[in-house]
Symmetry: C2
Subunit: 323 residues, 2 copies
């Protein structure tokens, strides 16, 4: 199996690559194409045929070049984040929507030429949902994105379903929860504090908390995200019918529950490193985000996430800090 | 007020134009631009400034040229129909999606240049919904189109909501029921028989019925469709929040109820002109279509449709046959 990962240099892309190299899918890997807008470091243990391709999917010809090798499995993880898509309207549509469409079109044209029909796994987002919504959002709730990013993901989902229905590829879209604990340096994402208030104190650093303890959100670990992707790649999509986009399971938890789990894992000294700095702008933004889902379909299809914040912290301690 | 109608040569476009000329909106019309891919005949009574523009929205520069005149109100009715969008994948996306996006982009660019911000009314379709669904589809049900046409309309709805949220225009999308009684010659639309079994017998002609009497669907008259468009144009969209696309009210009725109403209006001789020719392919297609909605939001916002098939037939007799 030849595998293409688009967005391979990102956090999830790198973890997915490592999991594939470690045998995360049945059968040998005949080739691994790691594609991103920046150079992807080829990890130790990768098959000799692994290649890093630095390219921008939204540039003319880029998608066709990637698809010319006819990978049997495509992971499309690439996107610019919510904040950037909101700040730069044209770039957001160009990368997140036109890039996705260019990929799908390249596959369709190759399909019409040669019958090529890969499995395609697309990462969507819970940003396709915007308030107001029921306390736990069901699988058949409508898309009302309150950001251009969420709009672009929702449009990608629609395209994925139509191209799959037409038989151009065998697609599945998965809506990832907010990933905690996100490793690495703090970033500018408005959701960054959900990870920051765990990651930074666990490393002995201060962290800012801009919202109240009662703030509820929807979480899964990086390890769960990779497991979702592998499970999606293996899934028999005939079970999906025409409804090819799924909300992934996750953990609905409050900031207060995060802090309580941090205390259990690392004590009061860690919790004392959280500096409360109310930020009404962030609080207002976060108030519009989903808080809880009933991910019944994905759960019935075998997708699994963590069920406690303690598990999520333990995964971070083991996978990132080697404890 | 300068008004642009895109898709002005179609059945709904022509009736809308007539209603506008007859004073369907408050205030004088300063200019009426009738745009379609074919020449639109300028109707009697039109303001002297009325112009017919033959253009294809999906061609480069076409949308910009229409928007250069800065119409304060834009009706976007243009689309190729479901069957054609399914038969010609590329044409469907080019006309129904790229054409719509080109219009929205032309407005955005003019907005950024001059602050221009028109009201925009977009006709979407109940084809954004595909089976399985609940007996009456609620306003918050998700989009699972089972056609490329429905996919293109759903993507247009998402764009409309995002461009409105961004403040580029003041948009509202309305999902029209299947229009009965559609005047004119029978067309090739799979849904055509819903009108045909009324229109043809009322004119003394035979009509084919490919499905059983129990077949249920969602209807409104051409007159109701025009009233929806005028009401949408007048509506204070601050009442919509971010959710700018609405399922219009309609009448849920069976083929058997259509025939019973035909009998009441025109007797057994008219009903005898319906020739039953079961067509399993059409029956299968129709079985995947919506049968009933709970259009609570639109109804609360003042949109109104017929409540009996007798009314719908009476409207056809009066508006089309002068009886």
């Amino acid at each position: 199996m030849k595998i293409l990962i688009i967005g391979s240099a990102g956090m999830v892309g790198r973890k997915l690559t490592a999991a594939l190299i470690a045998g995360g899918l049945p059968g040998p890997i005949d080739g691994l194409i790691l594609s991103d807008v920046v150079e992807t470091a080829i990890p130790p243990g990768a098959p000799a045929s692994t290649r890093s391709v630095t390219t921008d999917l939204s540039k003319p010809g880029a998608a066709e070049a990637l698809i010319a090798e006819k990978p049997g499995l495509v992971f499309h993880l690439a996107a610019i984040v919510s904040g950037e898509a909101e700040a730069d309207f044209e770039k957001g549509y160009r990368v997140n929507f036109d890039g996705t469409r260019a990929l799908f079109e390249a596959i369709r044209l190759e399909h019409q030429k040669s019958g090529y029909k890969p499995k395609l796994v697309f990462t969507s987002s819970i940003a396709v949902f915007g308030e107001p919504f029921p306390e736990a959002i069901p699988d058949d709730f409508f898309h009302t994105p309150l950001s251009s990013y969420g709009t672009q993901k929702a449009m990608g989902e629609l395209l994925l379903a139509d191209y799959s229905r037409r038989g151009f590829f065998d697609g599945i879209g998965i809506r990832l929860p907010t990933i905690v604990v996100r490793p690495g340096a703090p970033n500018k994402a408005a959701s960054g504090f959900f990870s920051g208030i765990l990651r930074e104190p666990l490393a002995g650093n201060e962290a800012r908390l801009p919202v109240g303890d009662e703030t509820r959100h929807w979480f899964a670990s990086p390890r769960a995200a990779v497991k979702f992707l592998l499970h999606a790649a293996k899934l028999d999509t005939s079970k999906l019918g025409a409804r090819r986009n799924l909300t992934m399971p996750g953990l609905s938890a409050t900031v207060g529950e995060e802090i309580a789990a941090l205390r259990r894992a690392a004590g009061d000294r860690a919790v004392a490193l959280i500096r409360r700095e109310a930020d009404p702008a962030v609080a207002k933004l976060v108030a519009g985000w989903p808080r809880n889902f009933n991910a019944a379909r994905a759960t019935a299809l075998g997708f699994q996430a963590e069920t406690t914040m303690d598990e999520i912290i333990a995964i971070h301690l083991k996978d990132e800090l080697g404890r």
